[in-house]
């Protein structure tokens, strides 16, 4: 589904990604771990198409198409979704209006009519129930004054509504309490299928107990320095990153 080869990228004149290779197939879950500042969020921003990040070398193919040629919205229309590490507050736009606008924009790009209001409403009800989100919450301004955990839950609600092919969850677990973590993980699992894939960025093994990865990668200084199975995450939890840095 997503094939990244030898990806180098820079931001504000500083090179952050130094040759990433990653191959994500439909139906798979990949976890990316790594110390603070190693480039995990940078990789997600580059995949999602943030204008500040510049690809200087390498390729990113999503179902055979080079992503660098596409605008952020076109990437979203192709089925890429990024759950932000720090979701942005948008005062004056309610969660509901935002998600309706987003869904209909994607439909329009595919040549479809607006989603009928009753179906939209039903879907909103269904997905907010899945993530145990109070309906009052949906009429509030997007992320404005939301707690850290509420923001993350809201990201996954958006993911559930948009039904992406490839979801990148950037530290979705940070800020969530234990119960919320289960709700959110359960939500993500419900959305999984053989046709879509998930990249989970996290610092903690705990999330991976709920969303079980097929592969675990360690990112350090802008490169994937080690890959393994879910056991690698357990090992990292025990030993930290020093041994990997030494090996690299």
């Amino acid at each position: 589904m997503l094939t990244i080869e030898n990806l180098h990228a820079k931001v504000e004149g500083k090179q952050i990604l130094n040759g990433i290779d990653l191959d994500v197939k439909a139906g798979e879950v990949h976890a990316i771990m790594g110390p603070n500042g190693s480039g995990k969020s940078t990789l997600s921003s580059v995949i999602a198409g943030h204008q500040d990040y510049e690809v200087i070398q390498g390729t990113m193919l999503m179902e055979g198409q080079e992503l660098s040629d596409l605008s952020p919205e076109e990437r979203a229309h192709k089925g890429i979704f990024l759950s932000f590490q720090y979701p942005i507050e948008i005062p004056g736009v309610s969660v509901t209006n935002f998600i309706k606008t987003a869904i209909n924009a994607s439909r329009k790009a595919k040549g479809l009519e607006d989603m009928p209001a009753n179906i939209m409403l039903k879907k909103i009800r269904e997905k907010s129930a899945l993530l145990e989100i109070d309906s009052r919450f949906l009429s509030r301004s997007l992320n404005e004054g939301f707690s850290g955990g509420e923001k993350k839950r809201n990201e996954i609600f958006q993911m559930a509504m948009l039904e992406p092919k490839l979801s990148i969850l950037d530290e979705t677990d940070s800020g969530l309490d234990i119960d919320a973590l289960k709700v959110v993980a359960n939500g993500v699992n419900k959305l999984r299928s053989k046709d879509n894939a998930v990249i989970v960025i996290t610092h903690y093994q705990r999330l991976l107990e709920y969303i079980v990865p097929d592969f675990v990668h360690v990112l350090w200084e802008g490169k994937i320095v080690k890959s393994g199975t879910k056991d690698l995450a357990i090992e990292l939890e025990e030993k930290g990153y020093d041994w990997i840095k030494e090996m690299a």
Partner: protein, 438 residues
């Protein structure tokens, strides 16, 4: 003949239309002298630095159009808050339109200033209020005063709550190629009384029209006044709005100005806080394109202690449009415990639009809280990326964010139909798809 000369010379013609023995004729004559001495403001005046009337007054205008009252309701219905029942004072080319109006004398007065000026029973009120809080040095106000002929007169007696909003609407029909209008409104809200007023100036056809309007509003003790100005006129219409508000103890007055269209608009909005514990709210949404120009020139004069004033102006400018915000807060030596806040936030959607902002604080008391902030910027890039990453195209994302930015001024609008109407106008102007509920 220059237009100024014409105004001076034509005053004789006005004298044929008014009662020379009415309560204000002397005031008219004195004001004409003021205008004669001062003339139109020039860009050399500090207060008119960014807004030039030179081109406007180089033209000639008709001053006394023929009455034109026959118009089909369905042609103008959309300019009214037709969804609800309201009092209406409506003028066509400056002439009262009984057909479109819905006035009253039942428990409160919603009628014409021409009637109030000429009838004996109003003489006391006119003597007490007419032209009492205007700035006597202001030449445009003086010009309006000298030509006082018609406008709305509203009187809400003690403890009366006007149960319907009042609409004051001035249409210009385009029958005259170029027209100069000078409506004069007087609004008195007595102790503990309440009223909501919506004012609108609207051309029905593209033609050169300038409105130089003066409104005096008196809010007595504990009075509550919500005043809304809808400025969404055609690109050939200009407006100079001079509004003067006097507040007594504990009164609460808000003025919302929605500047969404027109050629040149200047809002001189003056609040005089004379009693203690007044609340004043000045809010504005300005949304301009093409070569439109809006200048907000506000004054909040804190003359008494324990008062609170809030100014919040949002502006969005594109395509060579021009915005000006000049906000003056004056706190008198005696006005301790004043809270005065002022915000002017502006977004430039492209590099052809410009905004000039200037806060002026004159504070002579020591125990006060004052703040002001002016920002001019672009839309937040990270927020745009967030919206786009969800599949919303750049243009729509920008429109949605601009809409959200401007819209939050509407939170304090107490009239739901109006709020919805303005919401919709803003969304339409920005090209935001209204596929969602507001």
């Amino acid at each position: 003949m220059e237009f100024k000369e014409k105004l001076l010379a034509s005053h004789l013609a006005l004298e044929e239309k008014v009662d020379l023995n009415d309560a204000v004729h002397q005031t008219r004559l004195e004001s004409l002298k003021t205008f004669e001495q001062k003339g139109f403001p020039s860009p050399k005046d500090e207060a008119w630095k960014y807004t030039s009337l030179n081109a406007m007054v180089r033209q000639d205008y008709a001053l006394f159009p023929k009455a034109e009252t026959s118009i089909e309701l369905k042609k103008v219905k959309k300019y009214f808050l037709y969804e609800i029942d309201t009092y209406k004072v409506v003028f066509m080319d400056g002439v009262y339109s009984p057909f479109l109006s819905d006035t009253t004398h039942d428990g409160l007065d919603v009628c014409l200033i021409s009637a109030a000026l000429s009838k004996a029973k109003y003489r006391n009120l006119i003597n007490t209020y007419f032209n009492k809080i205007t700035n006597k040095e202001d030449s445009l106000t003086a010009l309006n005063t000298s030509y006082t002929l018609e406008g709305a007169y509203v009187y809400i007696p003690k403890s009366v709550v006007a149960e319907k909003p009042i609409e004051i609407i001035h249409f210009s029909t385009g029958k005259e190629k170029a027209l100069w209008l000078q409506p004069r409104n007087l609004i008195v809200v007595d102790n503990n009384a309440q009223v909501q007023i919506v004012e609108r100036h609207q051309s029905l056809k593209k033609h050169s029209v300038v409105t130089n309007s003066v409104t005096e509003i008196y809010a007595h003790q504990d009075a509550l006044v919500d005043y809304y100005k809808i400025q969404n006129d055609l690109s050939t219409a200009s407006l100079i709005d001079n509004t003067y508000i006097s507040q007594e103890k504990n009164s609460n007055v808000s003025v919302h100005t929605f500047s969404l269209g027109g050629k040149l608009t200047r809002n001189n909005l003056n609040f005089y806080l004379k009693g203690e514990r007044c609340h004043s709210t000045l809010k504005g949404v300005t949304l301009l394109e093409d070569r439109q120009h809006v200048d907000h020139y506000t004054l909040v004069d804190h003359a008494s202690p324990h008062c609170e004033s809030h100014q919040d102006y949002k502006g969005v400018f594109s395509e060579g449009s021009k915005g000006v915000f000049n906000g003056k807060i004056h706190v008198d030596r005696l006005a301790q415990k004043t809270n005065a806040f002022q915000q002017s936030n502006n977004i430039l959607l492209d590099d052809k639009a410009t905004v000039n902002t200037k806060p002026q604080l004159e504070i002579f008391a020591d125990d006060v809280k004052c703040s002001h902030g002016c920002t001019v910027g672009q839309l937040d890039e990270d927020a745009l990326f967030y919206l786009r990453s969800r599949g919303i195209p750049k243009k729509e994302a920008k429109a949605l964010m601009t809409y959200a930015f401007a819209n939050n001024v509407l939170e304090s609008v107490e009239l739901p139909v109006l709020k919805k109407r303005i919401n919709k106008l803003i969304a339409e102007k920005l090209g935001v798809n209204l596929g969602f509920d507001l």
